[in-house]
Point group: C2
Chain length 328, copies 2
DNA sequence: CTGAAAGCGCTTACAG
DNA sequence: CTGAAAGCGCTTACAG
């Protein structure tokens, strides 16, 4: 038995419409406004958002679908999106897909049922591929990962360029047998691989890459295997922070040190990469900017639905640390 | 112009009530059910959750209010809560207070406006103190931090015991000038201090504690100051993971190594604590269990609203690593 | 099992 | 500026 707008109206001696106008900052005389505000305080009235959304046909809700909030990239991204939403007086519905297309499909359905205002979305590669066949009732801004060309707004970093920069940096520091370890579920990992591969070839080096599930465990296993077979690489490029962690553990487990035995480098400037040994050389992504930009694109899209889709490409920043130092 | 339940009803040649029953797994003949399901597929109908919530008076929504999702403790907690909610076919509304009581008040208001089913909540100390004067329309389960005695269900760890264990461990390893660095916004930090203090006194050691804002920067400043003044401590206990990070940085900036110059220990078994040097000795919290247990308490409370409030106390686990090793 | 009708709590033209 | 009335899209007694 919560109090509704009618209870407030009765207490204030006005109509429900007037209460609603006070709530929505509509045109109300100062006199009545004061009475209504007093009545709201007296009754402890709180509007029912479901009713408001249903009636007004505005959910004031942003959907955010990512793979796993525990991935620091997405942790920071989500705060950045939430802060922007907070400023715009909107709420955020956060969903974790765990890179599972079934969960993803379920959450996309949920987004429609919530009648969200717009979606910020890091799709798996599987789902991304068919994104042009789907029709959503809300604008979608892709982040971190792209979909079919020119279908949705997107904010990404120059993945190929950044991976190439890492290769160049390593080569310039005397490394040539550079092993690449990439995730197998996102367009981002693919692009990083492409950049790695081109840069290797351009510098006359032989590409030596492997694709695995984007977990620390899978990355650890893959590196352990690679270290045990054939000629040992003298450097490694890893395509995201979680995998880099796995690679680091595997390297240590193999009794190796960086940079002495192996120049370990990768993506994502996570806390620990700065703290271990003399530090790991990484590509730092402007994560908060990615989130903010995505929200900007979303709001612009809402204002001008017919604008051609835009892709904003931000740059990663090479943070050179001890792990890529010249050895011997 | 999205399709509604009436469109489906018309397409299937049945009443809206029947469509609703199919959706809700109500009693419908196999014959009609099939027709309705076909019509749903044909029209691409998606129920409007706002309408459903308004009419059914069930939001099927769990509120989750924490200080900052970027704090790994809360990152993991939120995944654990979301997974449990997912299993129960409920959604989660996540809010970050940044330890700011104003934001907190705003989000508590939001929770009421969403008519949430229940709230999982890590209150700031300011707000926690007055929690017995407030009346919510939904059950509240406190996590990580407690409120007034016997008012709400709660899931915490034995903070005093764990802090005492850390002190004992350090003392047993030859340390006696043990500096304590604690947050100043949560009951949890207070309890950890109390445990630290009692253990120090019990062992005939002199307490030497400081309270600061629970950030890495504040902790770094405090430790830097402490190291520069008076007799240097030979060990440190820090009350959470973020502050421990700040303390670690400050120690390194002062040119000190652990365990050689300082036995640095604290709470939260974060990734990096295992990786730096010979590892940091920490108290690991059963974070996922805390989340799961909180959801269990919430569901039990919903079933039996009049049960006396329960407090579940889980244990932290001492993970002994190199930073507390005996020196010299 | 099925349908017609009422109503959840709001907002918003419409008229004054 | 203000109020009476309609209606957002559902669910749920009620009657059959």
């Amino acid at each position: 038995m919560t109090t509704g707008i009618k209870d407030v109206a009765k207490a204030a001696g006005v109509s429900a419409a007037t209460v609603s106008r006070v709530l929505g900052n509509g045109p109300v005389s100062a006199d009545l406004r004061e009475k209504v505000e007093a009545a709201i305080r007296a009754t402890g009235y709180r509007p029912n958002l479901s009713a408001r959304r249903l009636r007004s046909q505005h959910s004031r809700t942003i959907g955010l679908i990512v793979s796993d909030i525990r991935n620091p990239f997405f942790t920071t991204l989500s705060r950045s999106v939430e802060d922007a939403a907070y400023r715009a007086e909107m709420r955020v519905v956060l969903c974790n897909t765990d890179e599972n297309p079934d969960r993803e499909a379920m959450y996309l359905r949920l987004m429609q049922e919530e009648r969200i205002t717009g979606l910020i979305y890091a799709p798996t590669r599987t789902t991304a591929a068919s994104l042009d066949e789907r029709n959503f009732d809300f604008p979608v801004v892709l982040v971190d990962r792209t979909g079919p060309n020119g279908v949705h707004d997107a904010v990404v970093i120059d993945n190929a360029g950044a991976a190439g920069q890492l290769v160049g940096h390593l080569h310039d520091h005397g490394h040539s047998r550079i092993f690449g370890l990439f995730g197998n579920t996102s367009s981002t990992a693919i692009e990083r691989h492409d950049g790695y591969r081109s840069a290797m070839i351009m510098r006359g080096l032989e590409p030596d890459a492997r694709f695995v599930a984007p977990h620390d465990r899978a990355a650890a296993e893959a590196l352990t295997e690679r270290l045990a077979s054939g000629e040992r690489p003298d450097a490694v490029v890893v395509s995201n922070g979680l995998m880099l962690l796995g690679a680091y553990r595997a390297m240590r487990a193999a009794g190796l040190e960086t940079p002495r035995d192996l120049a370990l480098t990768g993506f994502d400037n996570e806390t620990w990469t700065e703290l271990v040994g003399s530090g790991l050389t990484v590509i730092e992504q402007p994560v908060a900017d990615i989130g903010r930009t995505a929200m900007d694109l979303l709001f612009e899209r809402l204002n001008r639905p017919d604008m051609a889709p835009r892709k904003v490409v931000l740059s990663g920043r090479l943070v050179a640390r001890g792990s890529s130092a010249r050895v011997g």
